[in-house]
Amino acid sequence: MAGKVNRIGLEPITYKGSKTTLCAGCGHNAISERIIDAFYEMGVDPQRVVKLSGIGCSSKSPAYFLGTSHGFNAVHGRMPSVGTGAMLANKNLIAIGVSGDGDTGAIGIGQFVHLMRRNLPIIYIIEDNGCYGLTKGQFSPTADLGSKLKTGVVNDLPPIDTCALAIELGATFVARSFSGDKKQLLAILKAALAHRGTVMLDVISPCVTFNDHEGSTKSYAYVKDHDDPLEEVSFVPFFEDISVDYEPGTMQEVTMHDGSKLLLKKLEEGYDATDKIGAMKRLHETARRGEFATGIIYIEPDRDDFLEQLNVVDEPLATLPLDQVRPGPEALEEIMESLR
C-alpha cells in the first residue's frame, strides 16, 4: 500500500529531521513541526532548500526538520550574511533561516537590519522567548519592560519589537505568531513559501525551562492571555483549486507572487495588512496594552527582491560554465591595450 505523499510525490518522513535535543515542551519544537507540515503541504523539494541558523537554542532547530536538505549552522548573529551569500550563489534555492531573539536582537541586530533592507528571498524566523536559553536564562533584547527572571531580576530596558523594526526597514512580509497557535502559524508559513522577498516571522516561543513562570511576559500562560490576532489567516496555494466565498468587506485577499491567495479574515474594522503606517500604529498600540498583535502584520507582495535588483542571470551563478565566467583573450588584450 502506497503511503501518503504530497504533490511532488514525497512522503511526510522526507521532511522530518533528527530527534530534537531541546527541552520537552520547548516552543521551538512546535515551530519545527509546523515547518515540516508547511513544506510538506506546499510540496517544496527539500533538495532545493537551505536551512540556516545562528547560535542558540533556536539555531539548533534546523537539525530537527527537513533532514534531507542542506543546513548551515553559522556563527552567532551572522546567519543573514551567510544566507545572503547562499542565495546570491544560487537563486533557485529556497532559504529558511532560524534565529533567536538574542541571535537577532543583540549580537545580530546589525546583520538583521541590513537583511531587512535588501529584501533577499528568505524566510527569517525568530524563535522568540525573551531570554538566552543555552546560557541559562539571561534576558534578551526582546524581553518586555517589567518582565521578571526566575531569579527575580526585573527587566528595565525597553524591548526591541522586531516586527516594527522589520517593517520600518523595508521587509515585505512581516508576521508574528505563537508557537502554540498551530493553525495560524501553519497558514503564515505556507504563505511565506509563496512570497518572493524577505519574510520576517517572529514566533513567540516560550522557554519552558527559564522563562515560563509567573511574572514573565513570554510564558505560555501570559502569551495565551495576551494574544491579539489581527485577522484569521488562511492560505490557498496556487495548486489547489478552491474558491472561498465571503461577505464583501470581511476579508482581505492578497495575491502572492506564485499566484497563491492569502486570505485575511478581518477580526476588526479597518485593519489593512498592506498599509505600512497603519501596521506600525497598530503594533505600538498593542504593545502599549501589553499584548501581542499576531497574524500577517504587513505584506507587500510585488516589490523586486534583492536578486532582481542585482539583475543576475537566471541560471545559478554557482554553476555557470567557464565560458560564461571567464572573458576571452580579446577582453584581456583590450584591457592591456587601454593600460599602455
Partner: protein
C-alpha cells in the same frame, strides 16, 4: 641644515660636469585634493613613453582635501623600481611643507618652487628654479575656479623643459590620462605649454639631472596592483563579491565592478553573471563569501587590517566547516586605525592564525602587479582545492601605486573546482562522508546545495567525518589531525619560492611582497659597493615548503627583510625551524609607513655584517614626512 662651503663646492663640481641621466628621483609636494595626481601620472607616463623604466609612489594623507601629499617618481635606467631614499629633484608646491621639504634635501638637489614661497633663501647648496605659478595659470585658464587644478600641470611643462622630455610626447601622455575629456585636455595642454615656455625663456639649466630616451618599456602597461588583482578575479571566474569600503583595498572591488560590468554581462540577456554586494561591514562581507562558496560560487572579498581583525570569527568557521573563501588583505600600517594611507607588511602573524582555537591559513604573497593578477586567479583554485580561506597578502604600495609591467598572460589552466562529489565518485566510494579523508591528503569531498548529491549539515561546532554533531574526543582529534594533514598537503601547492642561489654566497636574504624591489637593488649595491655576495629566496606562499630549510642550510647567515616591527615572517618561520637553523636568522625591519628602500636594507645588512656604514643624519622625511601631522 646650515649650508656649508664643502657642500657648495661639491655641488659646483658635480653640476654641469657629471650629468645624471635616467637615474634620479623627482618628488612633488602638493596639497591633496588639488588635482596633482593627474599631473604626476602624466609625468610618469611621459617617462615610460620615452622608454625609461620608471615607478611612481604616492604618499598621501588619510584625508580628502587640504593636507600635504607627496608623489615620488623614480627614473632608473637599471630598472630599479623601489622607492629611492634620496630626493634628487623637488617640486615644492605646498606652502605648509615647503621649508621642511627643502631643508631635508641632500646637497646638489634641484628645486622647482612656487616663487612666492621664497625658498631660495633657505640654502645655497641646492639648485633653485622659482616659477610664478599663479601668474602663469591665469592666462591659460580663464575660469578662476579651475585654476587650482590646472596649476599643477604647469610644473610638468617646466620639468619637461628642464629634464628633456619632448613636449609632444607629454601631450600624448596627457591625452592618455584624460582620454575623451577634450575640454580638460585642451586646458591642461595649455598649462603644459605655458610651463615649457616659461622655462625656456626664464630658467637656465644648472642641475645635472637629465632624461634620455631608452628602449626598455615597449609593450609595458601601467597599472595599480588593486586593478591587476581585480582583473585576475574576473578571469578566475569569480561570481559573488562582497566588500566593505576600506583604504587601501577599496579600489580593488571598485575596479572589479568596472571590469565586470564591461566584460561579464551575459550577451543574450544583458544580465550579470555575477553579484557584487557592498555589505554593511567586513564581518557580513566574509559571511556572504562563505555562504556563497558553501553554495558553490567562486566568491571573494577584499579588505585591510581592521577588516581582517573583524573577520576573525568567520575565518575560523570557514577553516573548520571547510568552505572556500578568497580574501585580499591590502595591508596598511596598524595597529588599530594606524596609518590608513601608509604601507606595511604587518598582518602576517595575525592572518596566519586568524581566529580562536587551532587554526592556520594559506597565504599568497604577490610582489608585482603581474603576480597580483596571477595569484588572484590561483587563489580561487587553491580555496576550492583545499576548501579553506586563502589570503592574498598585498600591501598599499602594491595595491594603490602605479607599476610598470609586461602585459598579463591569459590563463591557460582550466578552473580547478576541487573535490566536488559526482555521481560516479559516489558510486566508487560507496559511502560518502563530508569530512572523510578518502585519499590521505586530508581533503574530503564536498557537495553543494542543489547539486542533487547527498546533503549534509554544516556547522562550526564539533563534528565527525559524516558531518554529524559530535563532542567525542576521538572524533575531535581525528578531524583536527586531518585538517593539519590538509595544511601539509597545501605546502606542495601554494606558489613556490623564487630562489636565486649564488655560488660562494655565505649570506642569504629572504623577503616577500613589495620588499622584493628593494632587495634586487640592495643585492646589487652589496655586490658592487662591498663585494658581498648574496643568495635570495623570495617567498611566495604559506605554508612553507622544504626549500626553506634547504636555503637556510646553504648559508651561514640569513637575513629576513620585512616591513613590520616585530619580524613577523621570522617568527612564523621559527615555529617550524630547528634551533640550529633559527640561530642563523637575522632581521632587517622597516616600518615607517613609507615603502622600503634599497639603501636602508644595504646599510642595515652591512652594519650587521660588521662593516662601517656612513651614518647619515636622520632626516625628517624619513622620520615621517614632516608636515604630516594633525587632521584626520
Amino acid at each position: 641644515m646650515p649650508p656649508s662651503d664643502v657642500a657648495v663646492q661639491q655641488q659646483q663640481s658635480t653640476s654641469g660636469k657629471q650629468r645624471v641621466v635616467n637615474d634620479f628621483s623627482i618628488q612633488v609636494a602638493t596639497v591633496n585634493g588639488s588635482g596633482s595626481q593627474t599631473a604626476n601620472i602624466v609625468l610618469l607616463r611621459s617617462l615610460l613613453l620615452m622608454g625609461i623604466p620608471a615607478s611612481g609612489k604616492n604618499m598621501f594623507p588619510s584625508n580628502i582635501a587640504g593636507l600635504p601629499t607627496w608623489y615620488t617618481i623614480r627614473a632608473s635606467k637599471r630598472g630599479y623600481i623601489a622607492r629611492k631614499k634620496e630626493v634628487d629633484f623637488l617640486v615644492a608646491m605646498n606652502p605648509e611643507t615647503a621649508k621642511e621639504d627643502v631643508l631635508t634635501l641632500d646637497p646638489g638637489a634641484a628645486v622647482v618652487y612656487d616663487e612666492p614661497l621664497k625658498l631660495k633663501e633657505l640654502r645655497d647648496d641646492l639648485v633653485f628654479y622659482p616659477v610664478p605659478f599663479d601668474k602663469l595659470v591665469a592666462p591659460v585658464c580663464p575660469d578662476a575656479k579651475l585654476r587650482r587644478l590646472v596649476r599643477n600641470m604647469i610644473y610638468d611643462g617646466i620639468l619637461a623643459k628642464l629634464l628633456g622630455i619632448d613636449l609632444a610626447l607629454m601631450e600624448k601622455a596627457l591625452n592618455k590620462q584624460l582620454g575623451k575629456k577634450a575640454k580638460a585636455v585642451a586646458l591642461n595642454a595649455g598649462a603644459l605649454k605655458a610651463g615649457w615656455d616659461y622655462a625656456e625663456a626664464n630658467l637656465t639649466k644648472q642641475d645635472p639631472y637629465a632624461l634620455q630616451p631608452m628602449n626598455e618599456t615597449v609593450g609595458k602597461v601601467l597599472i595599480e596592483g588593486n586593478a591587476a588583482a581585480a582583473i585576475g578575479c574576473m578571469m578566475a571566474g569569480v561570481t559573488v563579491v562582497a566588500w566593505y569600503p576600506i583604504t587601501p583595498s577599496s579600489s580593488l572591488c571598485e575596479s572589479l565592478i568596472g571590469y565586470m560590468k564591461k566584460y561579464r554581462m551575459d550577451k543574450k540577456t544583458g544580465k550579470a553573471t555575477f553579484a557584487i554586494v557592498q555589505a554593511e561591514d567586513e564581518i557580513a562581507s566574509l559571511g556572504m563569501v562563505i555562504g556563497a562558496s558553501w553554495a558553490g560560487a567562486r566568491s571573494m572579498t577584499a579588505t585591510a587590517g581592521p577588516g581582517i581583525s573583524l573577520m576573525s570569527e568567520f575565518t575560523g568557521l570557514a577553516y573548520y566547516a571547510e568552505t572556500p573563501a578568497v580574501i585580499f588583505d591590502v595591508q596598511r600600517v596598524g595597529p588599530s586605525t594606524g596609518l590608513p594611507t601608509r604601507t606595511a607588511q604587518g598582518d602576517l602573524l595575525s592572518t596566519a592564525f586568524l581566529s580562536h582555537g587551532d587554526t592556520k591559513h594559506l597565504m599568497l604573497f604577490p610582489t608585482s602587479v603581474e603576480e597580483a593578477y596571477e595569484m588572484a586567479i590561483e587563489s580561487f583554485d587553491l580555496a576550492e582545492q583545499f576548501q579553506t580561506p586563502v589570503f592574498v597578502m598585498m600591501d598599499l604600495d602594491l595595491g594603490m601605486n602605479n607599476w610598470m609591467s609586461s602585459g598579463f598572460k591569459y590563463p591557460t589552466k582550466p578552473i580547478n573546482r576541487g573535490k566536488l562529489l559526482t555521481a560516479e565518485k559516489l558510486k566508487e566510494l560507496g559511502q560518502w562522508g563530508r569530512y572523510k579523508d578518502v585519499e590521505g591528503d586530508g581533503i574530503p569531498y564536498r557537495t553543494i546545495p542543489g547539486d542533487g548529491m547527498p546533503s549534509y549539515f554544516t556547522r562550526g561546532s564539533g563534528h565527525n567525518a559524516k558531518a554529524q554533531y559530535s563532542e567525542r574526543p576521538d572524533d575531535y582529534v581525528d578531524n583536527m589531525d586531518r585538517l593539519s594533514r590538509k595544511f601539509d598537503t597545501a605546502r606542495k601547492f601554494v606558489p613556490k619560492p623564487e630562489v636565486d642561489k649564488v655560488n660562494g654566497a655565505k649570506i642569504g636574504i629572504i623577503a616577500f611582497g613589495t620588499t622584493h624591489w628593494a632587495i634586487t637593488e640592495s643585492r646589487d649595491q652589496l655586490r658592487e659597493e662591498t663585494d658581498v655576495k648574496t643568495s635570495y629566496y623570495r617567498l611566495r606562499g604559506y605554508p612553507f615548503n622544504d626549500s626553506l630549510t634547504e636555503f637556510i642550510d646553504q648559508h651561514e647567515r640569513v637575513y629576513i627583510v620585512e616591513q613590520n616591527r616585530d619580524a613577523q615572517l621570522r617568527q612564523l618561520m621559527k615555529l617550524e625551524l630547528s634551533p640550529e637553523r633559527q640561530a642563523k636568522l637575522r632581521s632587517v625591519l622597516h616600518y615607517s609607513g613609507l615603502p622600503i628602500d634599497a639603501r636602508s636594507v644595504t646599510d642595515d645588512i652591512l652594519s650587521q655584517e660588521g662593516f662601517e656604514v656612513a651614518k647619515k643624519e636622520v632626516r625628517v622625511v624619513e622620520a615621517g614626512l614632516g608636515g604630516m601631522t594633525g587632521g584626520e
